[in-house]
Symmetry: C2
Amino acid sequence: MTGPTIPDTDRKQPAFVLVRPQMGENIGASARAMWNFGLDRMRLVAPRDGWPNPAAVAMASGAGRLLDGAGLFDDVAGAVGDCHFVMATTARARGLTKPVLSPERAMQEAARRLAAGERVAMLFGPERAGLENEDVARANALVNVPVNPEFPSLNLAQCVLLCAYEWRRATAEVVAERMDMAGADRADRQEIERLADHYEERLEAAGFFFPAHKAARMRLSLRNMWSRMPLTGADVRMLHGIMRQMVRRAGRG
Amino acid sequence: MTGPTIPDTDRKQPAFVLVRPQMGENIGASARAMWNFGLDRMRLVAPRDGWPNPAAVAMASGAGRLLDGAGLFDDVAGAVGDCHFVMATTARARGLTKPVLSPERAMQEAARRLAAGERVAMLFGPERAGLENEDVARANALVNVPVNPEFPSLNLAQCVLLCAYEWRRATAEVVAERMDMAGADRADRQEIERLADHYEERLEAAGFFFPAHKAARMRLSLRNMWSRMPLTGADVRMLHGIMRQMVRRAGRG
């Protein structure tokens, strides 16, 4: 059952190694999860139902080429033979002295080592039992997803998804916060001032600033509100229009 | 179809609101994904196949009480009526001027606001179409998962999983790196020194440090290697044993 020689001469991403996976559906879902975050190097160790697997292909739709390109191996030693750094995902302590990394730290470490020219693999165990201690003993470090201890059961593709997500966070420029402007520009201070003046003037005329001893405070609050709001030029124009319309109605009524 | 009044007087976690979800299986899988990371406040807006849904219950196994406790609403406005801050997960730009947050930033923001006594909701759209612009217009911010632009299709439960994972990262103490010691303690400098001495002495006697002009360098490299390795007391004892055994064999042979 030994497969093609290890295909990735490209060292810029970790190989995800599914060890003795059972359901073809989970292999396909794992391929999708990898490709959702830009990873496409899959290796398989002794899949239970043989290989290729039609159920895997059906589930992978859109990420099927990961399956076509997947390396097939008899055992973990063969699957990671060319790798310099191997991490094993595991849900429980193993009675082995070994570093345990969060998924975030693991993928930062993977990115760092790949950039330095090393080859890196992540091991994922079979659906129910997880990796055996023999597999884990071959890893340089463990990776532990910080699940709710009352309900720790992640399925294979979910574990792959979270690791792939952390890979992307570690390597793509993920913008923490930006503003979608929908073609509009943020209003500048002059526009905000004119808006504040317009409202103040019209509200003054309408007798809004009452009673007199509170008027100064009310003006200040109003001007502060305009400054506090993240207004676009279009917002400002709309607010001018609202006030103009109300004045017009008042004139008519 | 209006459900029970909103149950969470506990303000310490965001509500995850599934908007017009289609497949019961996806509702169940979302419940599991939430509970994997300690979230248990689900709200449902107009689930396509009615409610309760046996397929959701079958899939949720272990997280079924989230479904029992889920609030049921006719529309988004009702589902988030008690919330102070609403975020909408979305895969694409909307032509609306609105802040866009990464899942990490979103959940940090949620934690901050919840700690300040606000109620927070996350909206998740139906499987194929995603949220409508009318739903999105009710949100204070968008949340955008940084997927591979060539293959952005995340399913509902995966999107829920990633947000729930980020919630846990934002609120639980996730240790980036620790060492599982398997009951063993790290060897101290004295133990390392004695080990280095033992090997140096025995290797000297065995004629290992040869040729003479390289001996000093070889000794230094060997001593450096012991210092570089993260050895436990048990490792040190094993290494002493290995050397003793080799000496014993050599004496016999």
